[in-house]
C-alpha cells in the first residue's frame, strides 16, 4: 500500500466517504483554473471536504506523517493557479466550512470560516449596519483567502488594505494556533496586536504553504448615513496620481482608484449585453482616448455623516480642479460609460459584487495576463511612461491600467492588464510569450523603479532577491512544515 492509499484509508476513519473523493471526474474538475495552459494534466491525489477544524487537523497530521503533500483551497476562485494542485497533492477544499461564526457589532468584526464568500459576508454585514472590505475579486471568492492576499477594493485607502485581525491555523504537526488577541482564549478575536510579534501577518501571502487557516476575524466598518462615489476626470496620469496622494494624505476617502479610459470601457462591457468589443478599445494608439473620452477617471468612495460627505465631496472636487482635473457627474459618466457607472456603484456604494456572469461577460474578450506591483508614487509615475513603451513593444490592443493607493501614500498598487481577444488555444503562443516577458519584467521593474511584485506568480526567482528575509522565512517554514507537505508545488520556498 503506498502512502496516498494509506492516507485515504486513514482519512476514512474520521471522515465520511461522501466527502473524500478519488473519483476520476472529480480529480479532473479540480485540476485546472483560468491560468492552466491547454493540454496539461496535473491531477491531485484526492479531494477532501472537511467541515470542522478537527477534521482538518486529522488529515494534516496523517498527511504529514505519510509525507503526502496537500493544497488548501478556500473556494477555488483564482486566476493564477494558486489553488490548483500540483502533481500528487491532496486538495483540501474548505467550501463546506462556510459559517459566519460571529458578527460582533460592538467591537466591529466578524469571525468567518474559509468557505464564506464575499457575497455572503457583505450581505450579512450590511444586515447589521456594517460594511466590510470588498475586493474587486469575484463575489463567489473566499473572503479569507482573498483577504490574505492584500486585496484592493472599496476600503483600501482610509481603513488599510489588511482586513484581518486574528486567525486560527492548523499546522502540519496538528497544532491549532490562534493569533492576535485570540491567542489568549478569553480575549476574543478583536485585536491584531498583542505584546508579542505578530503572527497573523506571517500567514498573509503564504498561499497555503504554512498551514490551513480555519477561521479568521475580519474587520467590519460602520455603514454610515451617507455613502457617495465622487468621480473626477483627468487628461493624463500625473495629476491623477497627485490627486490620489492628496486624498489619501488628507484621510478623505475610504478608497480612491484611477481607471484609465480602456478600463472604463472594459467595465462597460459587463452591462453591454454584446459579445463585440467596442472598436475604440482595439485602436492602435491606446495612450490617446477617443475624442470626448477622458484619459481616465478617479473614483473616490466617501462614507460618513451626510454633512461631512458634502464637505468631503467639495474638497475632492476642489483638489481635482487645482490639479487640472474636473468633476464628473453621474449623468456624464452614464452618457460616456454607462456600464462603468453601474459597476463602480455596485462595488463601492451598494457593496455588492455583480453577478459572476456579468463579470464573466466582462472577460469575454480575453484571457487576462497582467502584472500587479506596488511602488512609491515617483516610481509609479516613471512606471507609467515605461508601461506605454513596453505595451507598444509587447502587447496588442486593448491594454489598460488602474492605480490605487493603500493606507499610506507611499504605497501605490499598479495593475496593468492585457486583454487577449482570441481563445486560449489560438493565443497560446502569445500568452506564453507574455509570461516569459513578465518573468524578466518583474526583475527589471524592481531594479529600475523599486516596484515589487504584488501577487506571487509562482516565480521561484523572486524570494532569493530578499536575502536574509528569504532565509528567515525558509527557516520558519522548516520549523512549521519540516516535511514540506504544504503546497510545495506553488514554488514559494
Amino acid at each position: 500500500m503506498n502512502n496516498v492509499e494509506q492516507l485515504y484509508n486513514e482519512i476514512l476513519t474520521f471522515m465520511p466517504e461522501e466527502r473524500v473523493s478519488r473519483d476520476e471526474a472529480t480529480l479532473f474538475s479540480y485540476s485546472t483554473d483560468l491560468s492552466s495552459p491547454p493540454g496539461v494534466t496535473v491531477l491531485p491525489a484526492m479531494v477532501v471536504l472537511p467541515t470542522t477544524v478537527e477534521e482538518v487537523r486529522g488529515l494534516l497530521m496523517a498527511a504529514n506523517r505519510l509525507k503526502v503533500p496537500v493544497v488548501p483551497m478556500g473556494r477555488g476562485a483564482n486566476i493564477a493557479g494558486l489553488a490548483v494542485p500540483h502533481k500528487g497533492e491532496v486538495v483540501v477544499d474548505l467550501r463546506l466550512m462556510n459559517k459566519i461564526i460571529e458578527v460582533n457589532t460592538d467591537a466591529a468584526y466578524a469571525v468567518v470560516e474559509p468557505g464564506v464568500t464575499h457575497h455572503q459576508l457583505s450581505s450579512e454585514a450590511r444586515k447589521h449596519g456594517f460594511i466590510n472590505h470588498l475586493p474587486t475579486a469575484t463575489g463567489g471568492g473566499s473572503t479569507i483567502a482573498n483577504y490574505f492576499m492584500h486585496p484592493s477594493g472599496n476600503l483600501s485607502a482610509k481603513w488599510d488594505p489588511d482586513p484581518i485581525l486574528s486567525l486560527e491555523v492548523v499546522t502540519p504537526n496538528g497544532d491549532i494556533v490562534r493569533t492576535g488577541s485570540a491567542a489568549f482564549g478569553t480575549a476574543g478575536w478583536r485585536a491584531r496586536y498583542s505584546p508579542f510579534p505578530d503572527l497573523t501577518g506571517l500567514f498573509a501571502c503564504s498561499y497555503g504553504t504554512l498551514g490551513i487557516i480555519t477561521k479568521a476575524a475580519v474587520k467590519l466598518f460602520q455603514k454610515n448615513e451617507e455613502e457617495r462615489l465622487v468621480l473626477t476626470k483627468f487628461d493624463s496620469f500625473p495629476p491623477a496620481l497627485e490627486y490620489m496622494k492628496r486624498i489619501i494624505r488628507g484621510n478623505m476617502a475610504d478608497s480612491v482608484t484611477f481607471w484609465n479610459w480602456v478600463w472604463n470601457m472594459f467595465h462597460e462591457l459587463m452591462y453591454s449585453k454584446t459579445i463585440k468589443l467596442p472598436q475604440d478599445m482595439m485602436k492602435e494608439d491606446q495612450k490617446t482616448p477617443p475624442p470626448g473620452i477622458p484619459f481616465g477617471i478617479a473614483s473616490a468612495r466617501l462614507n460618513s455623516y451626510k454633512e461631512v460627505v458634502d464637505v468631503q465631496e467639495k474638497v475632492c472636487i476642489r483638489l481635482a480642479e487645482e490639479l487640472g482635473g474636473s468633476y464628473m457627474s453621474k449623468e456624464e459618466i452614464q452618457a460616456l460609460h454607462p456600464g462603468s457607472w453601474e459597476y463602480l456603484h455596485s462595488y463601492f456604494i451598494e457593496g455588492i459584487h455583480p453577478k459572476p456572469g456579468e463579470e464573466s461577460t466582462m472577460r469575454k474578450a480575453m484571457w487576462l495576463p497582467g502584472f500587479l506591483i506596488n511602488a512609491e508614487p515617483a516610481g509609479i509615475l516613471a512606471l507609467e511612461k515605461f508601461m506605454w513603451e513596453f505595451a507598444h513593444k509587447e502587447a496588442r490592443p486593448p491594454y489598460m491600467f488602474r492605480v490605487l493607493p493603500y493606507s499610506h501614500a507611499r504605497e501605490f498598487f499598479f495593475a496593468f492588464v492585457i486583454l487577449i481577444t482570441g481563445s486560449l488555444e489560438e493565443e497560446r503562443e502569445y500568452m506564453l510569450h507574455l509570461k516569459s516577458v513578465y518573468s524578466k519584467l518583474y526583475h527589471e521593474l524592481l531594479a529600475k523603479y523599486g516596484a515589487v511584485m504584488f501577487r506571487f506568480r509562482q516565480d521561484p526567482t523572486f524570494l532569493p532577491l530578499t536575502g536574509p528575509y528569504g532565509d528567515l522565512l525558509r527557516s520558519i517554514k522548516n520549523v512549521i512544515d519540516p516535511n514540506n507537505i504544504m503546497h510545495p508545488g506553488v514554488n514559494l520556498f
Binding site: F28, S29, S31, G76, G139, G140, K355, G357, T361, L424
Partner: protein, 407 residues
Amino acid sequence: MSNGIKLDRRLYIFSTRCVRCAGCTYGYRDTGFEVVCPIHKKHLFFTYSLGGMLQISRALYEKRAGISESVGDVVYSCTGCGACGEMCAEVDFPDIVQLQHELRARCVEAGQIPYVLMATVEGLKKEDNMLQQPKADQGKWAEGLDVKDVTKEKAEVYYHAGCRYSYDKELWPAARSAVNILKKAGVDVGIAGKNETCCGGRAYEMGFQGEFTKYAENNIEMLKTAGIKTVVTSCSDGYYTFKVLYDMTGKKGDIEVLHITEYLDRLMKEGRLKFTKNTPLTVTYHDPCHLGRKVEPWLREKGNIQEGEVYQPPRNILNSIPGLKFVEMRRIKQNAWCCGAGGGVYDTDPDFALWTAMERIEEAKSTGAEALITACPWCKRVFTDAIRENNIDLKVTDIIELVDKAL
C-alpha cells in the same frame, strides 16, 4: 488543439474562462445567495456544478480525459434545471445548459449511459412515449371528451398533452380540464388523440439527439399537415421542446407555441375566461424550470421575450382567482429551486429526485400555504410522490385544475 469529444467550440472557450467561483451554485441577492443548484447541495464537491462540469469539459476537449463511467455519473447526476446559467452565463454563452446536453450526447456516443435510461429510450423507440407504456393506450386520457382530432379535422389550436399527462392516470384530470377550459372559452381546439407522440424533448436532454430529431420531425409534419398555427400544451417540458428545441434545430417554423398558462392569461385579458367561484385557499407557486430559465436564454437571444415574462402568466391567473391567497416562496422565478424530476434524474436517481423535491416542499410549507401549485406534470409527479412518502400535510395541485374549479 484537436477536439477530443466534438464539443461545441464556444463551450470549450467558455470553459477556459471559468474562474471556479461556484457562483453557478447559488442565487443572487434576491435569494440571500442561497444555494439553488441541487446537485451541488447534495454531492458537495465543486465537480457537481456548472463550473466543475466546465473543467471536466476542458479535460475532455483537450483529450486529457475520456468519457468514462465516472464522467458519465457526474454528467447524468444533474437535473438540468438551468439555475447555474442565471448567475454565470450572460452574453458569452446564454444557453449554457446546452453544455449538459452536449456532454450527454457525447456520453451516448461513448456508451456511458445509465442503464435505466437505455430502457426508457428503448421504450420510446417502441412505444413513442417516455413512460414505457403501450402505444395503444395513448389518447385514453381524453376518452369521453368531445374534442376534435387534428389528424382528421381542422382546428385552430392543437393541444399537446405530452407523455406524462397522457399515461399518468392521476394527472389525467388536469389534461382533461385544459381541454374543457379551452372549449368553454370558445377556442377551436383539437388533440392528436391516439396519434400523439412524444415531443422528443426529454430524449434530447438525456443525450439521445437522434431520437429527438425523429420525434421533432414527426410532430412538425403532423402540425403542418393539420394546418395548425398555434400549439398549446400544459406540459412544461413540451413547451420548452416545441418553443426552444424545435427552433434551435430549425424545425419550428412560424408555429406559435404557448404554455397553457400563457394562453389562459391571454383569454382572461380578452375577457373570454372569467372566474365565478370563490376559492378560499392559500397557495404558493413553483416555477417549473422549463417554463422559465430554460427557455429564457434562447428566446432572449432571439429578441422575442423579456427576462421574466414567462413567469408572470401563472401569477396573473392565481391573482385573479377570487378568494385565493397567493404567497411567494423565497426562491422564485429564475432562482427557483428545482423539483428534482428533470434531466431523467427521477429515473436514474429517484432518491435524489425526492430529496430535491422535499427541499422545495419544505420551502412551500414555510410560507403557510395549504397547496403547492405547479404548471408541470413532472413537477407534480415528484412532489406528489415525495409528499406521500414523507407523509406531509400539503396539497399539490395543477394550476389547470385550480382554474377549472374556479370558473
